[in-house]
């Protein structure tokens, strides 16, 4: 049903009957979280979980604008921290997954890219926006490897998938994305691992919104995400465990 | 139930300033050159534009009198027929006619019945179902008339209703119009360029030039004593303005003309083109006006020829084709003119 005829019970009236939980999350979590949501629903009849996906910063903006969000799952520490600072998060955020960066190239790696250093003169490289999490992490990794990319040889996707798409569909010779994205692209790209000493680990945190409607159910969801079932799903999507 | 329009109104380059009284049951023709403001006058009466000053009243009911009063168009109870029929293109002829009654509160069935009766009365029943684009010019104009009349308007405003028709159709529609106008109780205002319309349909005439009424009155008085060049040309006569002293009239250009009647002061004189005789040599005999001039133009109209004469008294003479042939007149030739004093009709300016 549409919003108008969807019964929404908010407030803390206890029972879990006909409770709707709104989870706002980073787009890169969409596949995994939808699956996790199915599992959660199965354990809690009468609970409806709905998701809204956008970039972490966009979701954070909506929360800041008063969007009725119960749980926030962020791919970006900064977005989460800012919300905590603004007093919009209840309790402490918990890390529930991690991710690593990987270099992606065209299938078969035609330009023979083996390391971060090879990126400096390969052609146009796709990265995320400087201030998007994957863009920041990539900058750290490149810095660590002492690689300086000419900005005029860098295209910056509006999100990780757009960055990946620049390699898959577009004319970027390589890109730096999360392992999970490379995995999802299957054989549309070739992945070139970044050595652990240079790699950056992204952490995904989850937290209750300060004015979550049904805090108990929301807490239950957060717990579920950190539980074994959900962790298995995340692992299947290529995420690393939180620790 | 007469119409009184005494107002001023500026619209673009036009400054309309009129004072007009149209008696009930009579047709007042409004004549005037292009751009004189005839259509604007009707639009002001209809309430499509508001006047700037003055007032418009119909049957004592004030329709527009700034700043206080402005009766909206839909409450003025007028009938309008325009040169371009303006039938609503998406409605059938019957529904066009029914539009008025329906808008004035009649039910759909009642309005259609009234419309059907009106079409019946005008012998247009066969056209009921036709859409306007399927009608000929004459048929469309008749339906437009039916539409204006079916609401029994307090006054009727006709803006060149015959202008877009070809001559054959025009005669027929003019005849219908004449019959219908005879039955209209209120005042009718008829804008036209065509003197035939005036003669056939109107009782009074008002001449509008450059936003002002330059002459008005009963048709006979206006045709007998035109006061502007426009009217004189329309009537095909010559108009001269001058100062009379006894029977002698002196024009501004200094030319002199002898009339039969005595007058003093500013006068108009008219001379029928056919009353002007042309000669190759100085004529002899009785005519008291005679002078030498040149031929400016010669217009041949079948068996009649109109000769435009030059200074000092530019006027048009009308002679027969054989006469012009006998004179061997060509444009630019010198010619002698003679006019009897009795042919110079004078009246005060």
């Amino acid at each position: 049903g549409s919003a108008a005829d969807e019964p929404e019970v908010r407030g803390t009236s206890g029972g879990e009957r006909d409770v709707t939980l709104t989870v706002a999350a980073a787009t890169s979590l969409a596949g995994a979280l939808e699956e996790i949501g199915e599992g959660f629903r199965a354990t809690r009849p009468g609970v409806e979980v709905t998701f809204t996906f956008d970039s972490s910063s966009a979701v954070a903006r909506q929360i800041r604008e008063g969007a009725p969000v119960d749980v926030f799952a962020s791919a970006d520490e900064i977005s989460m921290t800012n919300l905590v600072d603004d007093g919009l998060i209840a309790g402490d955020p918990a890390i529930f997954a991690r991710n690593e960066l990987v270099i992606v190239t065209r299938p078969g790696n035609p330009t023979d890219i083996d390391s971060l250093a090879d990126l400096s003169d390969a052609g146009v490289i796709a990265l995320c926006g400087q201030d998007a999490p994957c863009g920041r992490y990539a900058a750290v990794a490149l810095d660590g490897a002492g690689v300086v990319l000419d900005e005029s040889k860098v295209t910056r996707g509006q999100n990780v998938r757009a960055t990946l798409a620049a390699v898959v569909h577009g004319d970027a010779v390589a890109g730096i994305v999360y392992v999970t994205d490379a995995l999802g692209a299957e054989d549309a790209v070739a992945a070139v691992a970044i050595p652990p000493d240079l790699n950056v680990v992204a952490t995904y945190s989850i937290a209750l919104a300060e004015d979550a409607g049904d805090a108990r159910t929301a807490e239950a969801f957060v717990a579920y995400v950190r539980g074994d079932e959900a962790q298995a799903v995340l692992a299947a999507h290529g995420f690393l465990p939180p620790t | 139930m007469s119409l009184e329009a005494s107002f001023a109104l500026g619209l673009g380059a036009l400054a309309l300033d009129v004072d007009l009284r149209c008696p009930a049951g009579a047709v007042t023709a409004v004549l005037g050159p292009n751009g004189a403001g005839k259509t604007t006058l009707l639009r002001a009466i209809a309430g499509s534009v508001a006047v700037d000053a003055g007032h418009i009243a119909l049957d004592g009911r004030t329709l527009d009198a700034p700043p206080g009063t402005f009766v909206p168009p839909e409450q003025r109870r007028l009938g309008i027929v325009h040169q371009d029929h303006l039938l609503l293109p998406h409605l059938s002829a019957l529904d066009n006619v029914a539009f008025g009654p329906r808008s004035r509160g009649a039910g759909a069935a009642e309005a259609r019945a009234l419309a059907a009766a009106m079409l019946e009365r005008m012998g247009l029943t066969a056209l009921s179902g036709a859409k306007p684009r399927a009608l000929s010019g004459g048929q469309a104009q008749r339906i437009a008339l039916a539409r204006a009349l079916v609401t029994e308007p307090d006054a009727l405003l006709l803006d060149e209703p015959l202008a877009s028709l070809d001559p054959g159709t025009r005669v027929e529609v003019r005849r219908d119009l004449r019959r219908l106008l005879a039955a209209v109780a209120g005042p009718t205002l008829l804008v036209t360029h065509d003197p035939v319309d005036v003669l056939a349909l109107a009782d009074h005439v008002a001449v509008l030039e450059g936003g002002r009424i330059t002459q008005s009155g009963a048709i006979a008085s206006v045709t007998a004593q035109p006061r502007t060049r426009y009217v004189a040309e329309l009537l095909g006569t010559n108009l001269i303005r001058g100062d009379a002293a006894g029977t002698t009239i002196t024009t501004d250009a200094g030319a002199q003309l002898i009339a039969a009647a005595h007058h003093d002061g500013a006068v108009f004189a008219t001379i029928a083109p056919a009353a002007i005789a042309l000669h190759r040599r100085e004529p002899e005999g009785s005519p008291r006006n005679r002078w030498r001039t040149s031929v400016a133009h010669i217009d041949v109209l079948g068996d009649r020829v109109r000769v435009q004469l030059g200074d000092p008294l530019p006027m048009v003479a009308e002679v027969t084709a054989p006469a012009i042939a006998a004179l061997e007149l060509r444009e630019g030739d010198a010619v002698w003119v003679s006019i009897k004093a009795t042919e110079v009709a004078t009246y005060p300016a």
Partner: protein, 263 residues
């Protein structure tokens, strides 16, 4: 039709053909990318059906709201000497040229629960636009209505007002004149404007996701679903795009010639 007498000039036709080619090639390209064996199954998943249904609801509502609110506005712009008309028109046309995401941010600023109006709407009527289909409709209307207003204002200016004057003289008040004379005269443009607005609303993405969020079954319209699917299942994304493409094309093709001209 009579024999046309002469052909259109070759250079003009060549340039026009090149231009058409420029617009066709991308279309062909995307059709080639589609995996036709899975298109049907991709389109009949619950999520896809939900998205298609939502897209229809939002785009039709946006078109309807454009007609309801845009018509009076177009009339005022076309027919009254409202002060500051160019400014008003510029303001109303702005969403047509603004990046939709910025439009979404602006809508948030105006109607989020934190804004005075948003909180008033919520407290007084329990209406909440974020994460609700109503919000998606608002976002779509915001970007789509300018198309309608532009089309209908032009049509209103093109109407021969003498029809309206005659109707008024016959006793029709202004509402009647508008309903029975003006509206029928501009009907083709109203239809064209509504179709343009509808099509624009159908393709709306940025303002919707920013303002109304991306909630399955509530605000996840086809373009948002395409965005999400691009994250995971590209073939499904292309299949969804095809729906958008085909529907828009059918509607635009049905825009008859005469709808583009004021009579």
């Amino acid at each position: 039709m009579s024999r046309s007498g002469r052909r259109p000039p070759i250079p003009v036709v060549v340039v026009a053909a090149l231009t058409v080619l420029f617009f066709s090639l991308p279309l062909v390209g995307i059709l080639q990318r589609a995996d036709w064996s899975t298109v049907w199954s991709d389109l009949t998943t619950d999520q896809a059906v939900d998205a298609i249904r939502l897209s229809m609801i939002c785009s039709v509502s946006a078109a309807a709201l454009s007609v309801v609110f845009g018509t009076p506005l177009a009339w005022v712009l076309a027919r009254t000497a409202v002060p500051g008309r160019p400014l008003i028109r510029g303001l109303v046309l702005l969403p047509m040229v603004l990046p939709p995401v910025i439009g979404g941010v602006a809508l948030l600023a105006a109607f989020s629960l934190r804004s005075p109006i948003g909180s008033w709407l919520h407290d007084a009527f329990g209406i909440q636009l974020t994460f609700s289909t109503a919000g998606a409709v608002v976002a779509a209307t915001f970007v789509a209505m300018p198309f309608y207003v532009l089309t209908v204002e032009g049509a209103l200016r093109g109407v021969d007002q003498r029809y309206e004057e005659v109707a008024a003289s016959l006793g029709a008040d202004r509402l009647t004149v508008f309903r029975r004379v003006t509206l029928p005269l501009i009907a083709p443009s109203v239809a064209a404007g509504a179709v343009l607005a509808w099509a624009r609303a159908l393709g709306e993405f940025g303002a919707t996701i920013t303002f109304a969020g991306n909630v399955e079954g509530r605000t996840r319209t086809l373009p948002l679903a395409v965005y999400l699917e691009l994250e995971s299942d590209e073939q499904a994304a292309i299949a969804l795009s095809l729906v958008l493409l085909v529907v828009s094309l059918v509607v635009l093709v049905s825009l008859r010639d005469r709808w583009l001209v004021r009579r």
